[in-house]
């Protein structure tokens, strides 16, 4: 029973990772790629670690997986902020389809 639930959680995680990587390849500019990839891949890996927790139950390995989940969330989101800000200051252009840019006045 536990094994079945773990396999289902890990499969869902890998499916989310596939969506994220398709977004990484297909979307047109850097900010959109960062959005798709960060969201999907972070939640996918958290789902895989949740599957590890279900598979091992309460114990040494399970608690390690439980500790890894909040670390993954915080580091992935903060790294995404830093990359987006750095890319804007570097001068990366936004896609042609963009309609609004409030940040330009703030940087000057």
């Amino acid at each position: 029973m536990n094994d079945m639930a773990a396999i289902i959680l890990i499969s869902v995680g890998v499916l989310f990772n596939i969506f994220g990587c398709i977004g990484l390849i297909r979307l047109p500019d850097m900010y959109n790629r960062l959005q798709a990839a960060t969201k999907c891949v972070t939640l996918g890996c958290c789902s895989i670690l949740l599957g590890v927790l279900v598979h091992f139950g309460i114990g040494s390995a399970g608690f390690r997986a439980l500790v890894a989940i909040p670390i993954l969330f915080f580091t992935a989101t903060v790294a995404a902020h830093a990359l987006a800000r750095g890319a804007y200051h570097f001068g990366t252009k936004m896609d042609k389809r963009s309609v609004k840019d409030d940040y330009r006045e703030a940087v000057k």
Partner: protein, 88 residues
């Protein structure tokens, strides 16, 4: 069950190859850095799947250390992008 986990592991490694495609092909430097960041997160998923396969808990420690190191690396790259000194 083990063969199914093997298939999932191969899919995950193929996704790492997709990140490598973005790193090699990316038209600008920030695109490559996004690829590096996502690569670091995907490796943690690989560590989780290998832990379930082999039943050895220490592989998860490798995953945690990998997350933190990849985070520091991404922060350094972002600092480099925004054109500041590293001690700022």
């Amino acid at each position: 069950m083990t063969s199914f986990l093997n298939i999932l592991l191969y899919i995950q490694i193929a996704l790492c190859a997709a990140c490598l495609y973005r790193i090699i092909r990316g038209p600008t430097i920030p695109d490559r850095m996004v690829g590096i960041d996502i690569f670091g997160i995907l490796v943690v998923g690989i560590c989780g799947i290998i832990t379930v396969q082999t039943g050895k808990a220490f592989i998860l420690d490798i995953g945690i250390a990998w997350v933190i190191l990849s985070f520091i690396g991404t922060l350094t790259l972002a600092k480099y992008l925004s054109g500041k000194k590293l001690n700022e």
